[in-house]
């Protein structure tokens, strides 16, 4: 015995088995299990054992082969219909299926070579087409907004402004109590989101570096993560946080600050 199997790389145990069957010129439906098992083991023994994952895959098949070998020696098992079962049947089925796919992969390879002979073209959308914006449907845009609603919005704005002016302290001029509201930061973040798809947290703070602003901005970002408008990534601790826009920022609603 001992057809010397060169130590070539096989994709796996099935690949090796097909190779042995081919090399011995035996029939796949009637594998001489003793011979094949012997040659299979010979190959496995010579294998580089450093990659345990690979080795274990080959060993599982080795166990299967030995199992089949021993069952071949026993009286034939009989199935429910009273027919004798060949211990090799399952393995044969697997080998045939594998062989078919190997064959199909070669067929695909040919097709790929043919397909590569066709060349494609990059998209060349004329700027005029690219710049096209559908007309604004004002009726839809304005919706159920009315003049009186607009009026109350205006009054809210004015009121907010009044409240912001602390009548006493504003006189001293120099002392500033910093007020950074979530809403205000949100407005800033939102407009930033509209113009950038991806940016760092530091970039967000360009306009206001104060501690309060940083904290409030961070809270706003957390809120946006929660509502799914952005995702964040940080390469390692203390490195800058990268923010990526996920949904249309125009849809961001004001944050309820309670």
């Amino acid at each position: 015995m001992g057809i010397n199997v060169k130590l070539q790389a096989f994709e796996g145990p099935l690949d090796l088995l097909l190779h042995l069957i081919d090399k011995n010129k035996v029939n796949i439906y009637d594998i001489p299990i003793v011979v094949i098992t012997e040659q299979y083991m010979e190959y496995v023994n010579q294998m580089d054992k450093t990659d345990l994952n690979v080795v274990s895959e080959f060993l599982v098949m080795a166990a299967t082969l030995l199992d089949i070998k021993s069952r071949m020696l026993l009286p034939k098992e009989v199935n429910e219909d009273g027919e004798e079962e060949d211990p090799r049947a399952e393995l044969v089925q697997k080998l045939i299926e594998y062989k078919l796919f190997k064959h199909m992969s070669l067929e695909l390879k040919d097709r790929q070579l043919d397909a590569e002979r066709a060349l494609y073209k990059p998209s060349t959308v004329p700027p005029e087409v690219e710049a096209y914006k559908p007309p604004v449907n004002l009726e839809e845009l304005v919706g159920d907004m009315t003049l009186s609603k607009l009026n109350s919005i205006f009054q809210d704005v004015l009121k907010r402004k009044e409240e912001k002016i602390d009548p006493v302290r504003s006189k001293f001029g120099k002392i500033e109590k910093e007020e950074v509201s979530m809403s205000d930061r949100l407005v800033h973040v939102k407009s930033f989101l509209m113009e950038h798809r991806s940016f760092s947290f530091t970039q967000l703070l360009m306009d206001n570096h104060s501690k309060v602003a940083t904290i409030v901005t961070f809270l706003v970002v957390l809120e946006l993560i929660k509502t799914g408008f952005v995702t964040v990534e940080q390469e390692k601790t203390f490195s800058d946080i990268m923010i990526t826009v996920q949904k249309n920022p125009e849809l961001i609603e004001d944050i309820d600050e309670e």
């Binding site: 060349l119 494609y120 073209k121 990059p122 060349t124 959308v125 004329p126 005029e128 087409v129 690219e130 096209y132 914006k133 559908p134 604004v136 449907n137 004002l138 009726e139 839809e140 845009l141 304005v142 919706g143 907004m145 009315t146 003049l147 009186s148 607009l150 009026n151 919005i153 205006f154 009054q155 704005v157 004015l158 009121k159 907010r160 402004k161 009044e162 912001k164 002016i165 009548p167 006493v168 006189k171 205000d184 407005v187 800033h188 939102k190 407009s191 509209m194 113009e195 306009d207 249309n248 125009e250 849809l251 961001i252 609603e253 004001d254």
Partner: protein, 206 residues
């Protein structure tokens, strides 16, 4: 090589390159000299132009490019343009209300009232056609003045800006009273009140 095949190759080259291709490159592809190539391509250009084709060949400084016939841009837009959603967000509504009630107004003033940059909001409102530039302020930098458009009036069912509901004097009074109340006995407060006149003026000028 027959002429049909040559033309087919030129078509294929111009197609796949997308951008312009120099005449000598085309010549190389079809294995002919540049003069012959030019003749062939010029002939092809006429053919593309006169036939019912969606594409044509244009010449640019001894180079050629295949491009879409402009007459089909409208059809192309149906495929290539991005669907956009226009929404009047709270931010936009705020800016719009300020412009509506205080027009003509500069971006700077809007910012002062809202306390935040309003560039984006104003630009969007202009894009939507609700707001437009109505002039320039006679001040350093000659900043733009914004006001509402006729479309705005139509959309909100207003005849003219004079019809905008007034911010009642009562309300302004109320703000003032609150302030006065808090600072009543205080002389500092009294001064404040005076010096705040400007601010009130601003609100009263509506």
């Amino acid at each position: 090589m027959d002429i049909e095949r040559i033309e087919a190759i030129i078509e294929a080259v111009l197609f796949t390159m997308g951008e312009s291709v120099e005449a000598d490159k085309l010549a190389a592809a079809i294995d002919h000299d540049v003069d012959t190539t030019l003749k062939i391509v010029h002939n092809m250009m006429d053919k593309y132009e006169s036939e019912d084709r969606g594409i044509k060949i244009i010449e640019l400084e001894n180079a050629f490019q295949m491009c879409t016939k402009p007459e089909f841009y409208d059809n192309l837009i149906k495929v290539a343009s991005q669907p956009r959603k226009y929404v009047l967000t709270d931010v936009l509504l705020e800016a719009l209300s300020i412009i509506a009630y205080k027009q003509p107004i500069t971006k700077m003033e809007i910012e002062k009232i809202r306390g935040v940059s309003s560039d984006f909001a104003v630009n969007k409102l202009v894009e939507y056609g609700l707001v437009k530039e109505v002039g320039r302020l006679d001040a350093p930098g000659r900043p733009m003045l914004f006001g509402t458009t006729e479309n705005f009036l139509r959309s909100f069912g207003v005849q003219s800006i004079d019809d905008l509901p007034v911010i009642s004097e009562d309300m302004v009074e109320q703000y003032k009273e609150e302030a006065e109340y808090e600072l009543a006995a205080d002389s500092v407060a009294a001064k404040l009140d005076e010096s705040d006149e400007d601010d009130n003026q601003l609100t009263l000028n509506i």
